[in-house]
Every structure is written in C-alpha cells, then in structure tokens.
Amino acid sequence: MNAAPAQAPDAKPLLEVQDLRVEFRTRRGAALVLNGVDFEIRPGETLCVVGESGCGKSMTALALLRLIPSPPGRISGGRVLFQGEDLVTASDATLRQVRGNRISMIFQEPMTSLNPVFSVGEQIGESLRLHAGLDARQARARAVEMLRAVGIPAPERRVDEYPHQLSGGMRQRVMIAMALACRPDILIADEPTTALDVTVQAQIFDLLRELQRDKGTAIMLITHDMGAVAEMADRVMVMYAGRVIERGSARQVLDAPQHPYTQGLIECLPALGSSQHDDRAELTEIAGVVPSIWELGQGCAFRERCRHALPRCAAEVPPLVDIGGGHAAACWLRAGDAAAEQAR
C-alpha cells in the first residue's frame, strides 16, 4: 500500500511557522489576509495546502520567502523559523542565501514565470552560479544534468533553447529543474500542474515523487485538487479565509474529514465510476462563494455556507483543536466533541 513517509514522525521540523499574519493596506483599512497560520514542514515529507482561491494558500507560500508585494502587503506578525533563523526578521543577505538555494519555489504559470529572452540553460544555471559558485561552463553542464533528471529528451540540445520552443509540460519540467538545481531542503510548488493535461500532470507528480525519494527534499504542494492530495500528501492543511481550518495526515483528512468545508471539497466533485452505479445523482454543492475579507465579521468565516451552522458560529471564531492523533479542526461542532473527550 502506501509507502511509509521518508521521515520518522517525530523528526525535528525543518521549517516552523508560528502565528503568521499578513495584512494588506487598502483604502478601506488594513485587510488581514493571513490570520494566525501555524504549521511545520518535516524533512522529506509532502505537505499539501488545500483551499479555494482567495483563501490564503499562495499568500502563505509567498510569505515564507518574504515575497509578498510590499507595499501594500506586509507580514504583521508571527515567525518563520528555518534552521534556527527567523526569516521574517532575517537580513536581505540571509534571505538571498535561502531563496532558490535552501528553499525554492515552482510557480503556477510556466509560461510567465520563465524569462523569454534567456535560454533555459542560462536560467537553470543562474542560481548555480550565484549559490554554488560554479563558472559558466560548469553551470551549463549541471543544467544539462538537471534537464536529463527531469526527463527532457535531448537535454544537450534543449539547454540552449528558449521557453517559447518548449511545450507546457516541458516548461514546467524546466521550472522544476531550476527549483531543484541547488538541491533545496524545501520545494514549494504552487499548483504546478493546473495548466497541464492530466497525462502530463501524472508525469510531473511521478517526477516530484522520484526526486523526493532520491534527494530527500520536503515538498509543500499547493493545490485545490483532492485527487492530487490523495496521491502526493503525507500531511494536509486546509485553509479558508486566511486561517488553517483543518490539518492532519492525508488519510485522516481524506477518510474522515472533520470540518464541513473539507467534507464539501471532497464530496462536491464527481468521482470516476459514477456511470456504473448511480442514476446520475446531483452533485453535492457548497453553496455560495468565499466571503470577501470585509464580510468576515466576528464568527467562523465559513458559517454562511455551512450546512451545520450553530448560533455560536456567528459569535466566535472556532479555535483549531486537536481531535486526536495530530488531526485538528477549527469547527464548533468538533470543538464540543473534543472538550467532551477531554472531560472524559
């Protein structure tokens, strides 16, 4: 069945994020787009971050490397501890040593995140020259090696080509080669396969898994596809309106989701095999849309769309409480259960 996670469960975390807050200054005042996000990434594991657009997934990733457009945005609180250093307060020089070297990132759009006027070899080699001190010739040789590692045919020829000469799948492989060139400890992948066909997506996922196995890289995968989560994740973190609303191991979250939002995300999509048994049932809907940052009010941000909303949900934000075995959810329905459990 499932391969055991590459690390011991109690391994020391590589990266610890504590109470991370990000606000954007707007004409209507400060908007808190991340509100007390806590999580950790352990060596060699895959953490999937799930949620709809606007829930803070990409913002979390950007905040880790202090890449939030500033102004108007800024990190207004919290810590990002990486190897004992707080990246929120670290100097720019330190951050440059971390970005693209110890922690690297793959962006969603392979077309716009590659520079059209440099060959892919030059772009892969750039970080190697900067971080590993290689000269141009060594960097090129290493770039060829990386292209081969990510499964691009004829890498000696491709290394001198430009992004427009490559297909979408190949561009995403180039992005991965770039991100992995310096053998980072952590790879952040922000919806790396959204723009790609399923067959290419399958190739990219296989590639990520293989590279993780060989090099022990921890992966933070941002996605909205629960199928992808099931395939890739060791642990899952579900976000909604700038907060973590559920987290746990992949099996805990997928097999027994506790937050109504997580349940909705899993139920709302048609599953393969529907033609064989049902009489074309209606799909379960999550009503409504993600509220804007100004409509959050006091209580749980999901209450307007929730099937089980209680009076208490409108008054107080539910805390993220552990419901056993590292599985936690932020919902008053579960908070009651957890309290009862503790009383017993």
């Binding site: 069945m1 499932n2 391969a3 709809e52 657009s53 045919p153 297909s167 979408g168 799948g169 190949m170 066909d197 399923v198 067959t199 290419v200 997506q201 399958a202 190739q203 996922f205 296989d206 898994r209 909205h224 596809d225 629960m226 199928g227 992808a228 989560v229 099931a230 395939e231 992949a250 997928l254 909705g264 995300l265 899993i266 709302c268 999509l269 048609p270 599953a271 393969l272 095999g273 529907s274 033609s275 064989q276 074309r280 209606e282 799909l283 379960t284 809907e285 999550i286 009503a287 849309v289 993600v290």
Partner: protein, 339 residues
C-alpha cells in the same frame, strides 16, 4: 434512435502555415482530420482529449467560427457548412457557445443585463418590453438575482460570471449549446454548482450539449456519449456506460488512469500506465497509427498502417488494430488497474 440534431461527417479543418524558408511549400496543420459523430436531441456528447487534440477546433467548426476544409455539418435539416451571410446569421440563434474563461468572455464595460440582452437585440427577438422580461426570466433561470442585471462583470465571482455566460447563451433559445470546458477555470467548490445548473437546464429546456472537456470525472458525470480525440482524429467513440466500464483504446485507458482520485491515492498512482513524451506534431502526423509512438502496446505494423475506426460492439468504435473481438465482445489489450 431518432434523427440526430447535430451530425458531423468526415470533418476536416486544416490551417496553412507559411513554409519555413524560401521556396519551401507551406505547411499544413491538420487540426481536425476526418471526424464524424452525431448527437441526438436532448443528449450530451462529450469530446475529450489533450490540448492540441483538436477538440476546441471541432467545436469552433460546428459553430462556424473556424474554416471548414472538408466534410459536412448538419443541424436538424440545415446544412450548416453551406450557409453564408444572413442565413448563417439567422441560424446562429439555434447554436450557442459557453466559453471556458468566465473572466475574458464578458465585456468588462457592459452591464450583466446588457450582455444577456445583446443576442436578443441583435436577433431582433420580440419587442423591447418582451426582451426586458426575457432577460429577467433568464437571470432567474440561472440563479442570479434580478437586481444583479445592473452590475458590471468585475462585481461577480467566477461562478456567477459563468452563470451570466450561460444566461447569454440561452437567450435566443438555442437547440445546441457547445460548452468548451465550462468548469475548468472555476474553483472546485463552485464546479458542482455549475454542473448541476447545466444538468437542470438540459432537463427543463431539452437542450443538446456538445461538451468539450479534458476532465474525465466531469465527463463521466455529465455525458451520454463520449468521443476521444487524439491528434485530430477520433480514437474511440462509445456510450457513457460502456466507455467508462471498459475503455478500449490504449490512449483512453492511459487518460483514465492518469486521473488522480481521492480514494485511489498512491496505490493508483503506482499502478498507472505511463505515457511518455508529448503528442507528435499535427503538421506531419505519423504515417501509421498516430498514437503508436507513445503506445506501450504498439507493434511494428502500427507504425506503417493507419488503423481504421471500426465498430467492435454496438455503438462502440475504436481505432486500434490490436483490439480483438471474441464472441462479439471486444477484448481490451490492457486494463486500468481497478483500485
């Protein structure tokens, strides 16, 4: 089966491209190369395939928005391919299009109500007062509030914008609605709302859908029949239940096995049939089977003889020489691992 509403026979859409260099002949991109299918009234035909397979070009040709190189497209008794000028313009009210991207397919400076009203004005449907009533009715049908007619597109979410697109497509009471990936640009949580809406409208209005998608789970949910395209040709055509119970063409099987599922998880990923590389170029497609270069089951003959699309079971046609029919039942050469 009753006479189909839409019949496409041997459709070809070729685009000429300037040759590379002096004196070289122009290259021809064979985007759609001999595609035939039919859709019965009130049913949904899904067209699936990877990018570059020709699915959107097929849809555009049906809409008469792409040049038809050869072949015949009929809608009811009308030969769509032959219509020109005013007759074609009038026929357009019978077929409408829902685009993939709800952001770029609405004019940012046009109010939502005006966008839905535009086709009525263009086609001079009814009096001005009747058009106003019709717009209100359409808004109600797609689940928007009447006062939202006065808002601009940027004031709507992606899902609501797709509802406006649907209302606009339905304005002229079309018979055929071509949906080009109508949910793939939407958030997962919103997709179910739009899919349920499309299903309800089909039930209520008797619409016929040509549904273009690459998402096999969505297609399985919504279609009645399915056509799989690869490099401009149909490689498999079957009714929904038969196809999803037992896809026959190696490409269809690979496509199905590539879909990640919540319950399959890593076991399914490990059992996956790997396709290597990208599809070949539609400029110079391979002489034999177009899939042979990526097919794990190709034999030497596959590379030289183009396989015909042959019917192996009632309504189930496949373009692969390696599918045997034993006692009237087709035998798949490979089976996706049941997970």
């Amino acid at each position: 089966m009753t006479a189909p509403l839409l019949a496409v026979e041997d459709l070809k859409v070729h685009f000429a491209r300037a040759g590379r260099g002096w004196g070289r002949p122009p290259e021809v991109v064979k985007a759609v190369d001999g595609v035939s299918f039919a859709v019965a009234r009130g049913r949904t035909l899904a067209v699936v395939g990877e990018s570059g397979s020709g699915k959107t070009t097929t849809a555009l040709a049906v809409m008469r928005l792409a040049p038809i190189t050869a072949g015949r497209i009929t809608l009811g008794d009308t030969d769509l391919g032959r219509l020109e000028g005013e007759a074609l313009r009038q026929a357009r009210r019978r077929l409408q299009f829902i685009f993939q991207d709800p952001f770029s397919s609405l004019n940012p400076r046009q109010r939502a109500g005006d966008a839905v009203r535009a086709p009525l004005d263009l086609m001079k449907v009814g009096t001005s007062a009747e058009r106003t009533d019709r717009v209100a009715e359409l808004f109600a049908q797609v689940g928007l509030r009447p006062e939202q007619q006065h808002l601009f597109p940027h004031q709507f979410s992606g899902g609501q914008r797709q509802r406006i697109n649907i209302a606009r497509a339905l304005a002229t009471q079309p018979e055929l609605v071509v949906c080009d990936e109508p949910v793939s640009a939407l958030d997962v949580a919103i997709r179910a709302q739009i899919l349920n809406l499309l299903a309800r409208l089909q039930r209520e209005l008797g619409l016929t859908y040509l549904f273009i998608s690459h998402d096999m789970a969505v297609v399985e949910h919504i279609c009645d029949d399915i056509v799989v395209l690869y490099l401009g040709q149909i490689v498999e055509r079957a009714p929904r239940r038969e196809f999803f119970a037992r896809p026959l063409h190696p490409y269809s099987v690979a496509l199905m096995s590539a879909v990640p599922t919540v319950h399959g998880g890593r076991a399914r990923a490990a059992a996956r049939i790997q396709l290597s590389g990208d599809p070949p170029s539609p400029i110079n497609p391979p002489a034999g089977c177009r899939f042979a270069g990526r097919c794990p089951f190709s034999e030497p003959a596959c590379a030289t003889e183009p396989p015909p699309l042959r019917e192996v079971a009632p309504g189930h046609a496949v373009r692969c020489r390696r599918i045997d029919v034993v006692d009237g039942t087709p035998r798949p050469i490979l089976q996706a691992q049941a997970v």
